[in-house]
Amino acid sequence: MAADEPLVLGIETSCDETGVGIVHGTALLADAVASSVDTHARFGGVVPEIASRAHLEAMVPTIERALKTAGISAKDLDGIAVTAGPGLAGALLVGVSAAKAYAYALGKPLYGVNHLASHICVDQLEHGKLPEPTMALLVSGGHSSLLLSADITSDVRPMGATIDDAAGEAFDKIARVLDLGFPGGPVIDRLAKEGDPEAIAFPRGLSGSRDPAYDFSFSGLKTAVARWIEAKRAAGEDVPVRDVAASFQEAVVDVLTRKAVRACKDEGVDHLMIGGGVAANSRLRALAEERCERAGIRLRVPRPGLCTDNGAMVAALGSEMVARNRPASDLELSADSSLPVTDPHVPGGSHDHGHDHVHEVSKENLYS
């Protein structure tokens, strides 16, 4: 790595993780995370005010920890990047305010960046420069999107998204129905390994020939699984938890991977990256691997720690902004809970709030 590669600190507070990462070009120097997930567990979902309070408490200590781990002084930084959106408004605001204060105090350029684009860009820390274009499948408790990135700093196009629940949300809800706790992803993944994915034929949402090719729907699946379990319970029978977990998980990952591969083929893109918390799901990785190989597509999935929300992904995109000479944000930068994915970053002077909030509809269930 060249010595003149950008040294960037990234701050992420869009949901319940206070993340601060430091990267040098595409090399990860520090990735400090403080999570409030345990506080939310008893509520069965992220409580916005609890998340915001936890961010405030953890913000500066996490930044200081990241600087210490990286063994650098804040004065050496070439820029400070922060998630400007999308996400929980109050949570975003803590990170944006901290980033602005550091950037101002240190006299460094500030880059307000897009959370979704960051999820894609983080793969550079694992597998080197992203090929252009890259197809990206982002799946987590907050998002399920298929994005085509032609230039991660300036050209990210939405191909499809969930029309109702996020994939990770479906995992959480089914885990709740099965009394498995929160978050649902890891426990369902674990139980599914001992179950039969073909035991129960759960529906594949939006998979008809007339359905939108790249959009997702997990609400119908969630209801179908819940009904199936209730019927068993009502009949006084035992619920085969492992088979339910495996069959439910198979329905989710089948649709995700099939649509992602199809989008790659249709667009003539030979790279697929998968990011977001659900990318840690072992069956999603295995099935994507299998289908990509068959289709001649190179699959890139960062390690699980980089797939969940973290500051390193924000730093990775910030570093790319510096490297490509993108204009910095200004001191009026605001947190935008519905920042469209088509804005990989928020350059200075763009505070007219002119973008149409087409994602507003899905925002409601994005973080509920």
């Binding site: 005010e49 500066v60 305010s97 101002y104 209730e230």
Partner: protein
């Protein structure tokens, strides 16, 4: 600086007097307004932030989101510059600015038909902790007392003797802090948020059965 109330207010104080200040009242844009205001105040004084030897921040009470903007900004400045942060109760700034030399109260808008409030012996001396209550529930105890702050104007039936100022000013907060620092008396709070309310968090009811009975 103080962002605990609808005012986004910043002032620079040199220990003797206020050098420059900026106050904007906009309950919804604390995040956007604060840093440009800091920049403006410093530019007016012809100084850079690294000339600052200490930061004073209003810790509330305040309704959540805006309050955090000032606190996290102060903490980040402190960390980046290596200077101390002194917390002060936001209501103390209003009290100090009023200059009232006898018993009175301060009340700010806590939304949800409540006020944050505290009683004062005089403009420098708070009597007891700040609380959050419905105006009608405290009108009796504050009967006959002047009440400073926007909370008084919002509820004239409960607080008929409303007094200025209506809004917080960082200039007053800095003046109070400079007095405390000069007197060596301390009396600062930790720069941590004073919410006075538990977070809104509804525990979802046990999983909702979707099959019709």
């Amino acid at each position: 600086m103080d962002t605990a109330t609808p005012a986004v207010t910043v002032a620079l104080h040199d220990g003797e007097a206020v050098v420059a200040s900026s106050s904007q009242v906009d309950a919804r844009r604390h995040g956007e307004l604060l840093l440009p205001a800091v920049d403006l105040v410093l530019k007016e004084a012809g100084l850079k932030l690294d000339a600052v030897t200490g930061i004073v921040v209003g810790v509330g009470p305040g309704p959540y989101t805006g309050l955090r903007v000032g606190l996290v900004t102060a903490a980040a400045f402190s960390s980046a510059l290596g200077v101390p942060v002194h917390g002060l109760c936001t209501l103390d700034g209003l009290a100090y600015a009023s200059g009232i030399d006898g018993p009175f109260a301060v009340a700010t808008d806590a939304r949800r038909k409540e006020v944050y409030w505290a009683r004062y012996e005089d403009f420098r001396t708070r009597a007891g902790d700040a609380s959050v209550d419905r105006p009608a529930d405290i009108a009796g105890q504050l009967a006959g007392l002047p009440v400073v702050g926007a909370g008084a104007r919002l509820y004239p039936e409960a607080f008929p003797d409303a007094r200025d100022p209506e809004h917080q000013s960082a200039a007053a907060l800095a003046g109070l802090a400079a007095e405390k620092l000069a007197g060596g008396e301390g009396g600062f709070l930790d720069p941590l948020p004073m919410y006075l309310r538990r977070p809104d968090a509804q525990v979802p009811k046990n999983y909702k059965v979707v099959t019709p009975k």
